[in-house]
Each structure stands twice: as C-alpha cells, then as structure tokens.
C-alpha cells in the first residue's frame, strides 16, 4: 500500500452503520478504500481503550459509528 494512503479503523454497529455499509455495497456506491471495519454488536460495546489501541497500532484515525 502506498505510504500516503491512511488507514482508518472503523467500529461499526452491527445493526446500524454496518447495515448501511452493506447497503452502500448493494447500491454499488463508491467511497475511499481507507476504511478497515471491525463489526461490534452495538456502539455500547465501544470502549475508549479500543480507540487508543487503534491509534497506537498505527491507525491514522478511528471512526466510531452507531
């Protein structure tokens, strides 16, 4: 991967944003390929630790979406 392509770690709620992401695919929309998705059961599962760990592991950004 080219150095200038940032990686964005995303935590998507299984019921909301993950569904939206699926639908975006079904609708053949396009968006940048920088996102790496981790499916979580609910944004309630989100812990600040995950955000910190993600950034620490070299993610260029973290996106949490419910």
């Amino acid at each position: 991967m080219a150095d200038n392509e940032p990686k964005i770690l995303s935590f998507l709620c299984n019921w909301c944003s993950y569904g939206a992401a699926d639908l975006a695919g079904v609708s053949r929309m396009e968006y940048p390929s920088n996102i790496r998705v981790i499916r979580i059961p609910c944004t309630g599962r989100m812990s600040p630790k995950f955000i910190l760990a993600g950034l620490r592991q070299g993610a260029d950004a973290v996106w949490v979406s419910g």
């Binding site: 940032p6 569904g19 968006y31 940048p32 955000i51």
Partner: protein
Amino acid sequence: MKNLLEHMGIEPERLHFSWISSAESTKFVDVATKVTEAVKSLENKEKKFVKTKPKVA
C-alpha cells in the same frame, strides 16, 4: 475522548463519531468520504501525531 486525545497530542480530527441508520447508505458513503478527506488533509502536514500546543491542560 477528543479532549483526551488532544491532551495526548493527537489531533481530534483523527477521531470521528457518527450515527447512521441501516437504510442510510448515502449518508454512510458521505461520512466515509468526509472522514477519509479529513484524515488525508492531516496527512499533508509534516508528521502525524504532533500537535504543538495542546489547548486543554
């Protein structure tokens, strides 16, 4: 959370929150694009994770 990051010297633009319903694929694409753009614009700055002066003490 954003304040904490800023305190640690990480730009708050590196953390995004959003709420999207499972029917809002357009919104998902919009937000995904915006988040990526926001991060890319940060990348153009010299080196990441460096903030000269934290606003919160």
